[in-house]
């Protein structure tokens, strides 16, 4: 239940931002999550529904955008998509010096409030 901690983090940021903007109710929360964070969207939705009870975000929608993993080879510059564990070697030149471009995002993009 790593997702419970993530859901709590999202909720804290959302309530904080809503308070600063003068909102009394949160209706939508948009988040972006990379596949390499091992966050499961279903488990996150479940944790979210539990976390928002009795808060100003109760009944809100958590809109999740999952981002695939991509890396760039620092030897030949080739950029490539990959899975959870096969991204450490460039498929073009077979070099091992690669830099992750996307896949580890854990970002709260914004909220809709009333």
């Amino acid at each position: 239940m790593h997702e419970a901690g993530i859901a709590a983090g999202i909720l804290t940021s959302a309530i904080d931002a809503a308070g600063k903007a003068g909102g009394s109710r949160i209706t939508t929360v948009d988040v972006t999550i990379g596949v390499l964070t091992e966050v499961l969207e279903d488990a996150l939705q479940f944790a979210w529904d539990a976390a928002i009870v009795d808060t100003i975000a109760e009944g809100s929608t958590l809109a999740v955008t999952m981002i695939p993993a991509r890396s760039r080879c620092l030897d030949c510059g080739h950029e490539f998509g990959h899975g959870r564990y096969d991204g450490t070697r460039c498929p073009s030149c077979e070099g091992y010096v690669v830099e992750l471009v996307t896949g580890r995002e854990l970002v709260i993009d914004g909220i809709d409030i009333d």
């Binding site: 239940m1 790593h2 901690g5 993530i6 983090g9 999202i10 940021s13 959302a14 564990y85 450490t88």
Partner: protein, 221 residues
Amino acid sequence: MRVDIEQKILAANDELAQANRARFAEAGVFVVDLMASPGAGKTSTILATIEALRDRYTIAVIEGDIASKVDAEKVRAHGIPAVQINTGGACHLESAMVARAVDTLELETLDLIIIENVGNLVCPTDFDLGEHAKVMILSVPEGHDKPYKYPNIFQVSEAVILNKYDTLAVFDFDEAEFRSVVSDLNPHAPIFPMSATTGDGVEAWAEWLAARIEGARRTSS
């Protein structure tokens, strides 16, 4: 009304982790976070590490568990200060928990804090505690296929301890394949085969840790 936030979800944890890191640097104490499955031998590894390094360094231990204080009591029985954190259900430690535990230690007197994270191969990887290094332990009975299933933890670890190495003969553990996958995931991480209970191989791991402690001292002074 739309409000843009554009903030890391774990920003609050990351900020507290940075505060921990600054405290550790000021006190000149090196902090290592040990991660592994339940039963991989985290506490035994800590006890073996203490015995290997206690003549050179003043050590304390922070024990993370969902409940109970049996681990802290084992460490204290060896004459080493230990703080038990009970996460009360959470599957990983967060930086605020570590900050509270550190409050109870005499930080200036210490050279090394070993944090035993909650037994789990998934959740601890995304939570920065302010440590200098994350290290993971995999035990032979868990199987050589674990890097395929839990790649993240192998990637965030600076070193991998292969514990219960004395049981290699009785388990179907393909060490060559394990080494090959770990090296693909994390080419720079050394692998230390050892048995925390017999003591075999502990020295190589302890010397790596000691070198890491000395390295951190050189860069901070």
